[in-house]
């Protein structure tokens, strides 16, 4: 019961960060600020959802796989962020 409550709280918090990421992506004025908003959804949104699901899976394989997924997204997210920032600095049509 307490674990269920924990799951729901963590997942709800994760959902909030996805909301923040999407709103930022849609409303922020230029690519670099949008990138700032997006990374929050990437790292924290998924991280909190994974955290919320951890008590609901079998250990060790299920839980470890979940954590691996999150770590992978963290690493690639940071790297892709660099790529995006580089692309954003190219000359091109501005919003």
């Amino acid at each position: 019961m307490i674990l269920d409550l924990f799951s729901l709280l963590a997942i709800a918090a994760g959902g909030f960060f996805f909301l923040a990421g999407t709103v930022g992506l849609l409303r922020f004025p230029d690519p670099l600020t949008r990138l700032h908003a997006l990374t929050k959804a990437d790292n924290l949104g998924l991280g909190l959802v994974v955290l919320g699901l951890l008590p609901r899976v079998d250990w060790p394989q299920g839980g470890l796989k979940l954590i691996v997924v999150w770590l992978l997204v963290l690493l690639t997210g940071a790297t892709v962020g660099q790529l995006v920032a580089r692309v954003a600095q190219r000359p091109g049509p501005r919003p």
Binding site: L72, L75, T76, T79, V80, Q82, L83, R86
Partner: protein, 314 residues
């Protein structure tokens, strides 16, 4: 109805919206970006349809490898003069639209009027499963029940590759695919990603291959993932694209179909039929074929993306 129904409705609506965008988008690059998103969304649809094997394939092929193929084509086509945007006249478009609506409506009617109870081959497939020693019915169907399809499909991949290669100019036949000197400009972040991702990708691909016997996964899914990793390394300039005439490359391409065919022919003697497996050896043989297949699938997919040879052999 329920939360599950609401989820499916949102998902179906999003997929249709993206599909409509792909058709009407003005810029080709935007349409291709939409197509990548479409592939990832379809993977969710397949999970909802209780088909994780297909979801893995769709994510890897639809979103990943096809996406790169189309992006490359869009970038290369962009160099020349712009294509005159001659859409058919409005009445013709209207007729085409009406025709397509009729076809879609007919299909929708078929979906709504599907026979009840649904015809199914699942019991037969499940009954044949113990003889193969496998736990994943989809792999069972691919490798035993419909093995001929799978074998021919390997051959189709190789034939398509021969087709693509034969489009090369005479001077570059047997040469190296891809335009020259492109990878030299790879940005640091891409190089880092190409160092980071492939080791993980290879582990996941082998894991999927191993898992394929009993859980969703298999040689196609693993092979597509391997191909994606190889393409990433070629994009970053960490791996040179191989010359088409390279003997090791050609060996990698044919090892899958060849092992499959050899074991299939051996089936005449050991089990009395083409592509039949002798009972106690079924599972090890199938795993062997899958292992050979993953190499060929990965090589064929990556080279199909790389395209015809464009630089002459040294």
């Amino acid at each position: 109805m329920s939360v599950a129904w609401a989820f499916d409705a949102i998902l179906a609506g999003t997929v249709l919206g993206v599909a409509a965008w792909i058709v009407v988008a003005r810029e080709t690059f935007a349409a291709v970006a939409g197509f990548i998103a479409y592939g990832l969304l379809l993977a969710l649809v397949w999970v909802r349809l209780a088909a994780p094997d297909v979801a893995l394939t769709e994510a890897a092929i639809g979103g990943g490898v096809t996406g790169v193929l189309l992006l490359g084509a869009a970038a290369r086509l962009r160099g020349g003069a712009t294509v005159p945007d001659v859409w058919p006249a409005a009445p013709l478009r209207l007729v085409a639209g009406a025709l397509c609506t009729v076809i879609a409506a007919a299909l929708a009617a078929v979906v709504l009027l599907l026979p009840e109870p649904a015809p199914t081959l699942a019991p037969q497939a499940a009954a044949a499963l113990p003889a193969t020693g496998l736990g994943n019915p989809v792999t069972g169907v691919l490798m035993a029940y419909r093995a001929l399809d799978t074998l021919l499909e390997k051959v189709v991949l190789v034939l398509a590759l021969i087709g693509v290669w034969s489009l090369a100019q005479d001077a570059s036949w047997g040469g190296v695919p891809g335009p020259q000197g492109r990878a030299a400009r790879a940005p640091d972040a891409l190089v880092f990603l190409a160092r980071l991702l492939p080791p993980v990708g290879i582990v996941v691909a082998v894991y999927l291959l191993w898992l394929g016997a009993d859980e969703p996964g298999g040689a196609f899914q693993g092979g597509a993932l391997l191909a994606a990793m190889w393409i990433l390394m070629m994009m970053a300039g960490l791996a040179a694209s191989p010359a088409v005439s390279d003997r090791r490359l050609r060996l990698a391409l044919v090892v899958g179909p060849a092992v499959f065919l050899a074991i299939g022919l051996a089936g005449f003697f050991s089990a009395g039929a083409f592509l039949a497996y002798p009972e106690p050896w079924a599972k090890p043989l199938i795993v062997l074929v899958e292992a050979a297949k993953i190499v060929s699938v990965a090589a064929a997919l990556a080279l199909l993306v790389a395209g015809p040879p464009q630089r002459s052999p040294r």
